[in-house]
Symmetry: C2
Subunit: 234 residues, 2 copies
């Protein structure tokens, strides 16, 4: 990560979700990626202790396994803007087009549309820090499922190959989840060792069609709440 940035990776155990904080050392403005509702108090306390003021709370996609913390963070940081990729219908202050640059102090994140897990998935790329926040598009030695929320294996395969594997090989990969205790990877490693994305497109599609995954336990609550920016829609 760049010397200009305070960087923190945080973990929510129940959904195995990673939340990331990037704070500009000069302006003290910060951005949070994929906050979770149940860890908002922890995250807000840490931001305050680090002397950071949250300017933006963004998600990599409309999550199905937890409620986003964006709504609750607003009570701690009134001026924050929420953000999400433009290719989805969820409520959000900002909708990011492909190639948009999110600028917060000296932090600049390029938004790359990387659909496949969901239609609205994006990857946030910090070119100066050499890092990509890939959401569920690319996990460490894995990837997000493609069997709901307009998921499409072919689309995900294409997103990873063209938008993530095209980054410099030393770039770090920071995903939205890990279930085996890994915390980061690199473009080089995933290009070489990802058991799914190193296959041909047709082999990949075959793998994804036969995962036999169970119905996500939080989805019936998480989706309607997250489509409403983390607010109870009822």
């Amino acid at each position: 990560m760049s010397d200009k940035v305070v960087f923190r990776q945080l973990f929510e155990k129940e959904s195995s979700t990673f939340t990331y904080i990037l704070g500009c050392k000069r302006t003290k403005q910060a951005i949070i990626i994929d906050p979770v509702d149940v860890t908002v108090e922890r995250d807000a306390k840490l931001l305050n202790e680090l002397g950071l003021k949250l300017a933006k709370a963004v998600n990599t996609h409309v999550h199905a396994d937890h409620v986003t913390g964006t709504h609750l963070l607003r009570s701690h940081f009134e001026e924050l803007k929420t953000g999400l990729g433009s290719a989805n219908v969820a409520k959000s202050d900002e909708k990011f087009e492909h190639s948009h640059k999110i600028e917060v102090g000296d932090i600049s994140l390029e938004v790359r549309h990387t659909p496949g897990h969901t239609n609205g998935c994006v990857t946030y790329v910090d070119h100066e820090g050499g890092a990509a926040f890939t959401g569920d598009t690319l996990l460490i030695r894995g990837c997000g499922r493609t069997d709901f929320q307009e998921g499409c294996s072919k689309t995900l395969y294409n997103s990873v190959q063209t938008q993530i594997f095209s980054l410099p090989e030393h770039f770090s990969i920071y995903p939205a989840h890990d279930y085996r205790g890994n915390t980061s990877s690199s473009v080089q490693e995933e290009k070489q060792f990802n058991p799914r994305l190193t296959k041909s497109e047709s082999e990949f599609v075959g793998i994804m069609e036969n995962l036999g995954l169970s119905y996500p336990k939080m989805i019936d609550k998480a989706l309607p709440w997250n489509l409403n920016c983390g607010v109870d829609p009822s």
Copy 2:
């Protein structure tokens, strides 16, 4: 972390233990800190994928909540040497005196004896990378318990104040555990916000005497195994 080093933080969910890998990019030799028996296959696979050869497997102390992975790692890396602070009776290839420098390729870790949680606790300091691996001596906004294994609150307090809080304030703190989803801190933050170690020595001792913690569930297995370098002593 220094550009000369491949750095990885790994997590074992059951005991909430962090394992750290530091690999020398030039010589491809590596050191692992606090490996856990149940994640040894994951760690060995990652080391191999990263092209690293494990030279040393060290512990910050004789753990009471999990069995060390040092013994099992030997079957993957035959030449590895295990290491531990000299102030304890556990079996280990190497016993590190206070101020000893562990040298693995371009990696250099200073061993600082930091007793208090146990008598043999050490902190490994990477001066070039600006990081301290503090074991249970200093946790993020907390510290290890002091009510067993020759634990002593006064001693722990003194260890933190003299051996950790004396490091440059920007140094990162990487503990052996976190139970709230934090992954790192800094000397500056813990000096300012640690709810225990910012108190006077007598207040700290009072806090530690009244934690009312339950008996550690793994201790009856973990201690005898770890005193024997992770090998079943029976």
